[in-house]
Symmetry: C3
Subunit: 340 residues, 3 copies
């Protein structure tokens, strides 16, 4: 693609002469026919040495380059450039005779069904949606348009999935929630008869598990992005455009607002309300409701600034204990001196 054409598509100003761009890359790896970007000032020195044919930068750094696209958000514009050059995965077309498609399923003619897929009765699959090999779509589930369901994904019965949803390999949607009653001879299973709803533009990571509701629904709000190996318990509700990093776990019936960010390995207890725009730092454990715009850290989680200060003190505890013992001795000596 001509650089001038790319500038036009992105609405950016081109500095320097035109060039045929064949791909995208980092500053240190880019060749002379590739475009790169500078977003993190850490990489500023690479502007001097990069072989990139062009660089997407902000106005401030443009003078260091003979050929550049000027952007107010170079990372966002580079991402949009990558979108133009990226080739989607997979190569199958049509609906494989090696797939099992129940006669009572309605699969749009433009949908791609790979070999070894199982599609149960009452399932509806929308336009241009792709179902990769060894996926299971249980009875009466609905999958919208332009979805990509990668290999070995399991979608249990009556799950509702919107449009433009991406589900990565091995994810499980609609498995039973974890509910048992005590009081009988053993633990008695609460059959999980609710469902899961995944709204538009959601992305779900590899081997992530999202449980169906006991009664009612588990819901992932539109635009929310979920990383790998995340656990979402039954009846959890997640708002729009939230980000759940890898290995997060959310216990049953908890509600997350919009634009919430949970960093890696965070745990959130059940029956909580986490407000809009909350941010929880990695490995934290949230055991209480959080009002909107709260930043927390630690296990159990505390206000994030306090967490940072506490984290600095923890390795000094042994020293602190020595200090206290010394002080005790000094007080004892002072008391003794007084009584003499």
């Amino acid at each position: 693609m001509l650089l001038s054409r790319l500038a036009q598509k992105l609405g950016l100003k081109l500095i320097g002469d035109d060039l045929e761009i064949t791909g995208v890359n980092t500053l240190d790896m880019a060749r002379e026919d590739e475009i790169s970007f500078l977003a993190n000032p850490r990489y500023l020195p690479l502007l001097e040495t990069t072989n990139a044919g062009a660089v997407i930068v902000d106005e401030e750094h443009a003078d260091k380059l003979s050929r550049a696209l000027i952007s107010k958000n170079p990372y966002l514009d580079f991402v949009r450039t990558v979108q133009l050059f990226a080739k989607p995965q997979g190569s199958f077309v049509g609906q494989s005779p090696l797939a099992f498609i129940h006669e009572d399923a309605r699969v749009h003619p433009t949908a791609v069904i790979y070999p070894h897929v199982y599609i149960g009765p009452g399932v509806k699959i929308g336009e241009n949606t792709q179902i990769f090999p060894s996926c299971y779509v249980g009875e009466d589930s609905v999958i919208g348009d332009n979805c990509i369901i990668y290999p070995n994904v399991t979608i249990m019965a009556r799950t509702i999935i919107g449009n433009n949803v991406i589900i990565h390999p091995g994810a499980v949607i609609g498995s039973d929630g974890f509910g048992f009653a005590q009081g009988g001879p053993g633990l008695e299973k609460f059959p999980q008869i609710g469902k899961v709803v995944i709204e538009d533009n959601v992305e779900i990571g590899a081997n992530t598990t999202i449980d169906r509701a006991a009664l009612g629904e588990t819901r992932v709000g539109q635009g929310t992005k979920i990383d790998n190996l995340v656990q979402i318990g039954h009846n959890v509700k997640i708002g729009e455009n939230s980000i759940l990093v890898a290995q997060v776990g959310i216990a049953g019936s908890t509600t997350l607002g919009k634009n919430v960010i949970l960093a890696g390995q965070v745990g959130v207890a059940g029956h909580l309300k986490i407000g809009d725009n909350c941010r929880v730092s990695a490995q934290s454990g949230v055991g209480k409701n959080l009002p909107p715009h709260t930043d927390v850290g630690g296990s159990p989680a505390m206000e994030h600034k306090t967490y940072l200060r506490t984290s600095v003190i923890l390795p000094k505890l042994p020293e602190l204990v020595k200090t206290i013992k010394k002080m005790q001795k000094e007080i004892e000596e002072l008391k003794q001196a007084k009584s003499e």
Copy 2:
């Protein structure tokens, strides 16, 4: 089902006139032909507003309702009611010609084998057991009666599974334990030649992994319930009716007793003994043996009451350090005054 018939099945007393019940639901969502329950006093106000046709309650709250079933354990009786109304997942019958069933496998004629299942030689599958699509059952494994093996489950060779076991999608039973010897040119693999035994009435969550023993066996005791994304190392033994919540990890050769509860994201080190009825709170790390009936929390885990107190102090550490510095100064002044 008639409410009177339900009362009879559960052995409960019916208050009010009879009614045809068509389903179960929460107090706030139930319609007039559905039955609900009250177990958590938090939801008491909903008794005034619910549209539920009938409610399972304890004696104490029955007077607030015109139609109720009186129970000593409303949650347990509601769970049993849900069991009567729940419809199982899946719709396939028979043994699919799209499955691979080795000629030396013995599959009971009432067992259901979905398309794209692989069943190896020497495998035995019992009555009414269902194997969903894309499951693998390795050679010489035995699966008992009335089991449900959901899609994409892997059961490696020589695994023994009892009756009424439920395995959720993507779980892996009998993968190699993690054992390597140092001292050679690289890490040398200890081939894991032991097996896994899953006793009756066990439930295993989605994408959970249970490793086969190095030598001997890994065993999950009867009635134990395991949530999603749990890791069970080689040679672990788990007693009866224990509960392992999501993302728990248990390292090799550890033994858990009966009725143990490990909350979400707990880690237990290897070669430990965790006694009957122990409870470990979420995200804790257990590095020592626990005698029966011990409650612990924290990482590393401590007595649970101490953990709660410590958790209150942690966010106050910065304040505490200030206090200590102030005290140091005061002591210095007192010493100075004394020496003057």
Copy 3:
């Protein structure tokens, strides 16, 4: 196998008369025709009671036995003995007509392709490699010789896998990294166009996920062993012979050196450098670069010795707070006495 033959193969000295050995086992379970080992002094008393036909021990303990192989590293030599007796999993031979193998894939004639496997165009699979049922190998991926890819594994497009690699069931290699840009109407996806490279002799655990690079590559160095349910983010580089225990998570663009050991449930933040021979204890959270040969523990991680001391102090914090309050009172009294 004759014990004398085994001694010869391992280069060990045989004490006592010869014997036909039929298997391997632990000291307490071994029968009279099985061989066992003593590596951990904890099990020394079992030498008196074991029924094992022979035991691999160091010189020091040989006198307690009538039949033994003398080794400087009994565990390593036992592991090599197990390797001689272990029977590999699986029983299929050839390339199943129930598999989908794209006509543009090059599968070596000695490779084993089980039923329900999907192999995309441009894929190359080496000698004696086995692909178990329901695996997916995306377009242009390369898998070397003597690899074992267990059931339900997903290998996305353009992944490069060396020789003698073992991938356990349900693992996902080459799923999209987790990258999104903010600033548009929602979160915009950074298409992950890099790849994953797995070097020779690597082992990857069940349901582990390794993301493809955004640009460039994610790489796992030769001989490295990864346990179950581990998350490896995009552009991570791991050196040779490292060990990642179950449920570890490594965020994007972090580099690990050689011989690094991350214990269970450890989290490592993104864009870090962890030097050769570093060791991180279980559940720790690493947020800073670590120079080679560093041992750390805790979340956030600190020097390991400090972590151990701090861990002893934590449960004593409530007592410490009482002590400080008492001291405050005493100081107050001393000050008052002075001013009187």
